[in-house]
């Protein structure tokens, strides 16, 4: 076990806690930078997809895991990002600017859904965001002059300063750059007053208010930021798809995004990455298991959403902190080896809180 002796306040606000952490993250950074030399086209493509999902996941995690607001409509922000990006590229807007616009327009949409739902939580908010996503889906389907409706539109190939980025290598680095940027912004937010305000709202709205946090503003901010990240992910996702149509952004996509943050581990950015890897691997695993399963089961049409739902429920019951929570326990097991006790992580009974304000 490692105990960190803090001697300066600066150590509190550094991104890395100690040199050990710095070493491991540097190693990780090196290996993702070098990945194209080791991975073939297919796996590089999958890893790019992990990064894209991770960007959306960072957005959703800020909302669900850090602000405590649930959303079943994040496919809508992904769609808004993807279509905005495509629309901009078609008109010759340079790639970085176009990605930025995708994020900004998504943020505006985020505020539009955030404002009217300020007083909603839990299941009501889930339904409201779901309704919002359906509206957006319909809008895309019927606004044919811009979106091409169900016929769809072709996404222009990505290029930067005249160089094509559509090859698997350059696109991989584009995704890597974006996910690194987004991660940096999210980490900064979380160590700043606004990030703390979001966590305060998640844990106790009344006491957040009494600490001077304007709930309406903070929640709108959370929605805007969350939507912006997801919009950026949408822009990259558009290239991955190559061709946009409304059925790429359905309820199933929203559930998939939610599944990612829940399975990864609510309330941690590590969890986002665990979740993103999981989400990308899952269809592959399903494809393999389809071959092994009896034909009658394997051909069931609802197999994929069914499995998603089942996993979501199982995780919520047995490991509410997700894969990251499990990882922490495993790590602790080894670092304390013979002394580890199973009860260390037994959930404590919390104090009775029936009389919330009184």
């Amino acid at each position: 076990m490692r105990f960190v002796l803090k001697t300066r306040y600066q150590q509190d606000i550094n991104l890395f806690l100690h040199n050990g952490q710095r070493f491991w993250y540097a190693l990780l950074a090196l290996s993702v930078l070098a990945a194209p030399w080791f991975l073939d086209r297919f796996f590089l493509g999958e890893l790019s997809l992990v990064f894209i999902y991770a960007i959306a996941g960072i957005g959703l995690m800020l909302l669900v895991g850090y602000t405590g607001l649930v959303s079943l409509g994040h496919a809508a922000f992904l769609a808004i990002g993807a279509y905005t990006h495509t629309w901009c590229l078609q008109r010759g807007v340079p790639l970085p600017l176009s990605i930025l616009f995708a994020g900004l327009l998504s943020a505006v949409a985020g505020i539009m859904i955030g404002r009217p739902t300020l007083r909603m939580t839990g299941i009501y908010l889930a339904i409201a965001t779901l309704a919002f996503a359906i509206v957006v889906e319909q809008l895309i389907a019927h606004w044919e002059s811009v979106t091409g409706g169900y016929r769809g539109i072709v996404v222009p190939k990505p290029e930067l300063f005249g160089y094509s980025l559509s090859g698997s290598w350059p696109f991989y680095y584009l995704c890597l750059a974006c996910v690194t940027g987004c991660l940096f912004l999210a980490l900064n937010l979380l160590r700043s007053p606004t990030g703390r305000a979001l966590a305060a709202i998640r844990d106790s709205e009344i006491s957040a208010q009494s600490m001077g946090i304007n709930l309406a503003n903070a929640k709108s901010t959370a929605f805007a930021i969350s939507a912006a990240f997801t919009g950026v992910a949408g822009a990259l996702f558009a290239h991955k798809l190559g061709y946009l149509s409304p059925d790429a952004f359905t309820l199933l996509t929203s559930i998939q995004l939610l599944l990612m943050v829940v399975v990864g581990g609510l309330g941690s950015l590590h969890g986002v990455f665990f979740g993103a890897i999981f989400i990308v691997l899952l269809p592959q695993l399903l494809a393999i298991s389809r071959d092994l399963l009896p034909a009658a089961v394997a051909q069931l049409p609802g197999l994929e959403p069914g499995v998603f739902g089942l996993i979501l429920v199982l995780v919520l019951i047995y490991e509410p902190l997700g894969m990251y929570g499990r990882w922490l326990k495993i790590r602790q097991y080894f670092s304390e080896f013979p002394l580890y006790r199973k009860s260390t992580h037994k959930r404590q009974k919390s104090y009775l809180r029936t009389e919330r304000v009184r």
């Binding site: 900064n188 990030g195 305060a200 844990d203 208010q209 600490m211 009775l352 009184r358």
Partner: protein, 254 residues
Amino acid sequence: MSEALLSTHSLSLSFGGVRAVDDVSFEVMPGEVFSIIGPNGAGKTSLFNLISRLYDADSGDIVFDGQKISDIPAHRIAELGIARTFQNTELFEHETVLRNMLIGRHVHSRTNLFSELLFLPSVARQELAFRQVVEDVIDLLDLQSYRDQVIGSLPYGVRKMVEVARALCIQPKLLLLDEPSSGLNPEETEDVSHWIEDVSQDYGATVIMVEHDMSLVARASSRVMAVADGAVVAIGAPQDIQNHPEVRRAYLGD
């Protein structure tokens, strides 16, 4: 006599048929430790919720520091200099002690979202300055050993202290304490009177506390207000209130 820091004028609040606060008027002077006592359901917490604007009064006014506050939103109360604790503690459960206390500095934050996203030097400087204040409060209340622990893992007594610490980080003019000693053991209760003294002297904060423990009230407070069924029964020095016939009747229920 100097100007009152806080005064209420004929404050009333009903829940359906229950008159939780009934025509309550009182004044608290700067630097005072003012206690509010009364049997269960007397309306003490409701009074706090009115002052911190979590509830809207049916009628009456609240004036703080020369300003009428009965119609401003709850989230602006802290920046005016009123901080509070809750009867059953309302901490940010999944955050560390340090981060809970830093939220107390929220009203003093001058950075905007974009500088925070980039963590510009101005944000870093502010974070360091915040920690300076927080650390002073940690020293005052002896919370060093819990600094980086998550609230969920702390015993009840410590949580109560953290809540006070968080409120102090606002550097309030007025501190509202709702039953600071409830759920504490006798030694911890003994400590309460000491830190209340520190808070009122070192921080120059005026304190209003709701409390059931009469010996603590007698030791710590300069004046006491007794309430029953939402209405004021008597206001005066601790000994006078303890021996007041009407107060005794309110408690014993003749």
